[in-house]
């Protein structure tokens, strides 16, 4: 193998010394790619070059050959660096496999079931910016027509954030009450978070509780992005804001319950800041942009609207999600 490569190289060198054509250089570049793939180190390339030149022009004076010997010495560090790269690439590959497994475990561990309630159409999308999602959606519902949804965002991304998600999931599991008031749910989760994680991590959460019997949505927020309410009758938007500290800041934090009456065709869009703070070439994404998209698609199903918003907004960000992107849509039918 090495001998074939050596004679190929000598051939290219001979032609290049004769012709200096672009084609010779192209042949050289292809060979050099092959060198790299077959772990030929740069110091070996110099040595091969010296041998090839000696074979072609053995008559050259000693200073030429000495000069190559120094050059071999100079290339040893680059050879070491190249071997380091190979080992780093391999490690990265192992890590990729580990992260894929981890994000699969995260998915199974945190899976939640979309409410099936008469008169309520639910759409969901959640796309992580990196391997592991730091946004979280949790549903709880019952046969009497209550449907709660928590939309949470851990401040911070990646593995540390992913670890916190399970705490939220198990906290919500332990409540297990689809009719619970948002203020109570946020209060309980706040105390768990405050107790379990240290001062550098915070979580924002929107909690919405829909009651199919009277069509009211009760909601609360722990420092979370406001949800949007689209009013079908007037074709207008309202922001659903409620006061409350981020989860984990203080065990004494109090949360509000607010409520709105939903009518046929109304949409509630809860989201994380990854939806609105996506940067485009011209700056942040404006709420007006989202309004227009929602209006354009308002007659579609909740899931179709969610996917449409993701596609349009991620296109505007040149597919470079800087933050996890999560949307939940409740559509009253």
């Amino acid at each position: 193998m090495v001998q074939i490569i050596e004679s190929q190289y000598k051939e290219i060198l001979a032609q290049y010394i004769r012709e200096q054509s672009e084609q010779n250089l192209y042949a050289g570049q292809i060979l050099s790619r092959q060198f790299l793939q077959e772990n030929v180190q740069p110091e070996e390339v110099i040595s091969m070059h010296k041998a090839a030149l000696a074979g072609l022009h053995g008559e050259l004076p000693d200073e030429v050959w000495h000069s190559f010997d120094l050059l071999i010495e100079m290339m040893i560090s680059y050879g070491m660096a190249n071997r380091e790269r190979q080992s780093l690439v391999q490690k990265q590959e192992e890590l990729r496999v580990e992260m894929d497994l981890a994000s699969h475990v995260q998915e199974t561990l945190l899976k939640t079931q979309r409410p099936e309630i008469a008169g309520l159409d639910v759409g969901v999308i959640s796309v992580p910016s990196r391997a592991m999602n730091g946004d979280y959606i949790y549903f709880v519902y019952d046969e009497s027509g209550s449907a709660g949804v928590a939309v949470a965002d851990v401040i911070g991304k990646g593995i540390p954030a992913a670890l916190c998600m399970s705490m939220i999931k198990f906290g919500l599991d332990s409540l297990n009450d689809a009719a619970a008031h948002p203020s109570d749910v946020l209060g309980v989760i706040n105390r768990i978070v405050e107790k379990s994680i240290d001062d550098s991590m915070f979580i924002s959460m929107f909690y919405g509780q829909y009651n199919a019997e009277d069509g009211r949505l009760t909601y609360g927020s722990a420092g979370h992005e406001p949800a949007l309410l689209y009013r079908a009758e007037t074709d207008t938007f309202e922001e659903l804001r409620a006061r409350g500290l981020l989860l984990g800041v203080s065990p004494k934090a109090k949360y509000e319950d607010r409520s709105v009456q939903l009518h046929t065709g109304d949409l509630v869009i809860a989201m994380t800041d990854g939806v609105t703070e996506g940067r485009t070439e011209v700056g942040f994404i404006d709420h007006e942009v989202i309004f227009d998209m929602v209006r354009h698609k308002k007659d579609a199903s909740a899931q179709e609207i969610a996917e449409y918003l993701y596609e349009e907004l991620s296109r505007m960000q040149q597919a470079e999600l800087r933050d996890d992107f999560t949307l939940v849509i409740y559509k009253k039918s």
Partner: protein, 133 residues
């Protein structure tokens, strides 16, 4: 100020022609030997991607001027299948392995500016610029 010329990439010979065009322009602009080699290597990688994966496309070489700097821009366009996951092909560790889009992170490193747009089923447009300092 723009000044352009281009090579259709249909056969492997066209890769050499695109390199030659790029090298001539780079030399005229005053790039040194090392930068000439980097620019032609970038052209090679882009042209090979067209040749191997898109089947059809072209390499344009433009002289560009911006904020008082002169530069050379390689524009590689094809009507191939597009790249399904740009994030993935732009990741390290792929640049020296084989496969679709191999070498794009390498091209990005050889040049100063790099921009890629791709639409599935329609094709890919890559622009890479090197400035003369």
């Amino acid at each position: 100020m723009n000044n352009q010329s281009s090579v259709e990439i249909l056969t492997e010979w066209d890769i050499v022609a695109a390199r030659q065009l790029g090298r001539n322009v780079a030399k005229e602009l005053g790039f040194g030997t090392v930068d000439q080699a980097r620019i032609t290597t970038a052209i090679s990688e882009l042209a090979r991607n067209i040749y191997l994966y898109a089947g059809q496309g072209k390499i344009e070489i433009q002289r560009v001027t911006e904020k008082g700097l002169n530069g050379i821009m390689i524009v590689a366009t094809d009507t191939g299948p597009g790249i399904p996951d740009i994030r993935k092909v732009m990741e390290d560790g792929f640049s020296t392995s084989g496969g679709l889009g191999a070498g794009l992170p390498g091209v990005k490193r050889l040049m100063d500016d790099f921009k890629i747009e791709t639409i599935l089923g329609e094709g890919t447009d890559i622009r890479a610029t090197k400035w003369l300092r």
